[in-house]
């Protein structure tokens, strides 16, 4: 059914067409790298140097030592020391500080008596994420300082403690989380956009009639158009991975070969989806828009790239199952950070194989050589 000569001829035609449009080709390489650099540098959830307002009314010296403990941690910096508690309200409303630490006048006296010595910590809760992390830090700092202060030298362990160990990303750097996921998200968008134009262009330029009059089979058309873009897509991923490893220092712990194979599977599906959209809509404008809407938001929001799928409502969780980017994000993270192999990632592999089959199948079905239709 498939004739290799015709297929390659189709691929060659498409390659020539791509080469004649150097602007689009340059975009295909520049956009992913720019997005990666931009996102990679700008997005970080690592909370440090949070600006703090300190109202220290303590008559003694211990209050100041507690403040030192807060700043020594590196998570907080004292931005301002308002004279009165009431000034704190204005600072929080304006958002100029993330929290206010209020140490009452009798703090030192109560600490000397062994406590409890109440201290107030007001947080700007509007940014819930930052506030939650700040809260955890503050409690840890106050707890440790207070144990040291009360016990003053005596070493008494906590009755029970958790010894926590972080796997795959021991420094908890958000960049290590973002960059591999970002490669997956960018590629889902780029891939569909790359091919969204290919068939609609033939319709709009009237070259579809020429194509239809040749003996080429529709599967050959789809595969022939796909082939050059697979090469571009693979080169894109290679470039993005290189940037991620060299520029951002993200560890690539797993097998590069496995990453390449699974990327190929993913690209077949994503590029196929673009061809399907293009063939079904027959208009370049519509196809680009649909391709962007169909890939951008789902890839960004429903892939687990930044937001945990587990904490979504059941309906959305079900929808994520049909988002190819979800599986590819798991693949890039798994190979980059966890260094896991096929014995773990075969699930994602199978899912992407299904997508590739469905994507290419739909593309072939949607592509009709009948002009009248």
């Amino acid at each position: 059914m498939i004739d290799a000569v015709r297929l390659l001829a189709m691929a060659r035609k498409e390659t020539i067409q791509i080469r004649r449009d150097p602007r689009s080709l340059a975009l295909a390489f520049a956009v992913p790298v720019l997005m990666l650099i931009f996102f990679g540098y700008a997005i970080t959830w690592d909370v440090d140097d949070l600006p703090l307002a300190v109202v220290n009314e303590d008559a003694g010296t211990r209050g100041e030592r507690l403040v030192d403990a807060f700043t020594a941690s590196g998570y907080f910096v004292v931005a301002v020391r308002p004279a009165r508690r009431s000034d704190a309200d204005g600072l929080l409303v304006r958002g100029s500080v993330a929290g206010v630490l209020i140490i009452p006048p009798d703090f030192s006296r109560r600490m000397s008596a062994g406590g409890p010595a109440p201290v107030q910590f007001l947080l700007d809760g509007a940014d819930a994420n930052t506030a939650t992390i700040a809260l955890n830090y503050a409690e840890a700092i106050a707890g440790r300082w207070s144990r040291d202060a009360v016990l003053s030298g005596r070493t008494v362990a906590l009755p029970a403690d958790a010894e926590s160990r972080v796997w795959y990303n021991p420094t908890l750097a958000s960049r290590n989380m973002i960059v591999p996921g970002l490669i997956a998200v960018i590629m889902s968008i780029i891939a569909a956009m790359l091919t969204a134009l290919t068939i609609a262009r033939e319709w709009e330029r009237g070259t579809m009639e020429q194509l239809a009059s040749t003996p080429v089979h529709r599967l050959e058309v789809v595969l022939g158009k796909l082939l050059p873009y697979v090469v571009i897509g693979m080169a894109d991923v290679a470039l993005a991975v290189a940037v991620g490893v060299t520029l951002f220092g993200v560890p690539l712990n797993g097998s590069v070969l496995l990453l390449a194979v699974l990327t190929l599977l993913f690209l077949l599906g994503a590029l196929g989806l673009g061809i399907f959209i293009s063939a079904a809509l027959k208009s370049q404008v519509l196809a680009t828009q649909v391709a962007m809407v169909a890939t951008y938001l789902p890839a960004l929001l429903l892939s687990g790239f930044l937001f945990d799928i587990a904490s979504m409502p059941a309906v959305l969780r079900a929808i994520t199952l049909v988002i190819p980017a979800r599986y590819y994000v798991a693949v890039t993270r798994g190979i980059f950070l966890k260094g896991v192999g096929i014995q773990v990632l075969w699930v994602q592999g199978v899912a992407m194989l299904i997508f590739a089959t469905v994507g290419l199948g739909l593309a072939t079905l949607a592509f009709r050589k009948r002009i009248a239709a």
Binding site: I43, R165, L301
Partner: protein, 380 residues
């Protein structure tokens, strides 16, 4: 110079042209709702029900009580148990759990004997955000469990040996504006801003670039409309639709998502009008430099991404490198987001938000002037 009837005629033509296509109606009023629902439910950084794997080698009353304490607040949900630590490793590798809790043999004895019992918490760091928060929760739960047990006099004979409780600092925390620390309360108002800018961009591309593509721009140019009238007639319908979308989306945010609205609606409306003007100016500018809708959409996509990333929408500004923090100062979306969140969550008024509003107004004026100049030139 500007004739009201002529502008009104053009306005009527624009609205009729836009809404003749039922797809546009759906896009203008349906898409914002869908986006709001999608963002409202999906953009969630609350760490709850983290999938947890438990390896309990102690199997005592104390270890079971610790497990109960671990799961009670709702942060962790036990989805797997095993006696073999290897199963825990495998579950973390697969990503089916994000946290592993390993209670070693002798936990109860150490606890009762006051020797400092230790459990191990393994956290999957691939999602650094969840990991940071989950780690904090886990440590807090285990410590307070231990303190509560020791405070209750301990269990068994060793209880007497337990150290006296270090009380010391009693940190009383309170989160203002969002006491439950729900991320939705922070994100949903921001989506309002996002939808406004998207709408303005799409609609300007549709009304300006499409006209050029269809070749009908020449017809408009030979009509008695002046350039100013033409621009006004082109931008007014978009601004009106933007304001309608604003009301719609804010209503859904308040009624459906229960987002508190503490400030003055008029202030939000005024700031939104200014922001819409700025977005329109940007959209118009991109439209005038693009020959096809295709190019316009690509251009807008390239502009909107940095605008979103550098706005503090989902990614906090204060953690960015200085260079990017500097860039955010040029971003109108940043100022509008501060206003939207201030009005929604903090009930902030003009007394607090005037600097943002001032900068936003200056930017809108600047962008609109540039766009008008550029638009005039393309007409010639």
């Amino acid at each position: 110079m500007i004739s009201v009837p002529r502008v009104r005629a053009l306005l009527r033509k624009e609205l009729r042209q836009l809404f003749r296509d039922p797809k546009t109606k759906r896009m203008v009023f349906g898409a914002p709702i869908i986006q709001l629902l999608l963002f409202g439910y999906a953009v969630n950084t609350d760490v709850t029900r983290v999938a947890t794997f438990v390896v309990d080698h102690d199997r005592t009353e104390a270890s079971r009580a610790l497990l109960d304490a671990f799961t009670a607040p709702g942060y962790f949900q036990v989805v797997g148990r095993s006696a073999r630590p290897a199963d825990l490793d495998a579950a973390l590798d697969r990503g089916s759990v994000a946290v592993g809790l390993w209670i070693p043999r002798g936990f109860a004895a150490d606890l009762a004997g006051g020797r400092g019992a230790t459990v191990q918490v393994l956290v999957d760091g691939t999602n650094s955000n969840t990991a940071t928060v989950a780690q904090g929760y886990a440590t807090r739960i285990v410590r307070s469990f231990g303190l509560a047990r020791a405070g209750a006099g301990g269990t068994g004979a060793g209880g007497a040996n337990a150290a006296p409780l270090p009380t010391g600092v009693d940190l009383r925390t309170r989160a203002w504006y969002n006491p439950d620390l729900a991320s939705r309360v922070y994100n949903v108002p921001a989506v309002v801003a996002l939808i406004l800018i998207l709408m303005c961009f799409l609609l300007t591309a549709m009304t300006v670039v499409r006209e050029r593509e269809l070749g009908t721009l020449e017809q408009l140019m030979v009509s008695p409309l002046s350039a100013g009238e033409l621009m006004l007639g082109k931008t007014l319908p978009v601004a009106l639709i933007g304001l309608a979308d604003l009301v719609l989306v804010v209503a859904v945010a308040i009624l459906w998502f229960d987002i508190p609205f503490r400030g003055n609606p008029l202030l939000l409306l005024a700031a939104s009008a200014v922001f819409i003007l700025a977005s329109l100016g940007l959209g118009l500018f991109i439209s005038t430099v693009s020959n096809t809708q295709q190019e316009a959409f690509m251009g807008m996509f390239m502009v909107i991404l940095p605008l979103i990333i550098l706005s503090g929408f989902m990614y906090p500004i204060h953690t960015m490198p200085d260079f990017f923090q500097g860039l955010t100062l040029l971003n109108p979306l940043r100022y509008f987001l501060e206003i939207v969140r201030g009005v929604f969550l903090k009930g902030a008024g003009l007394a607090v938000l005037w600097p943002q509003l001032l900068v936003l107004t200056a930017m809108a004026a600047g962008i609109l002037t540039l766009a008008t100049l550029r638009f005039r030139r393309t007409l010639r």
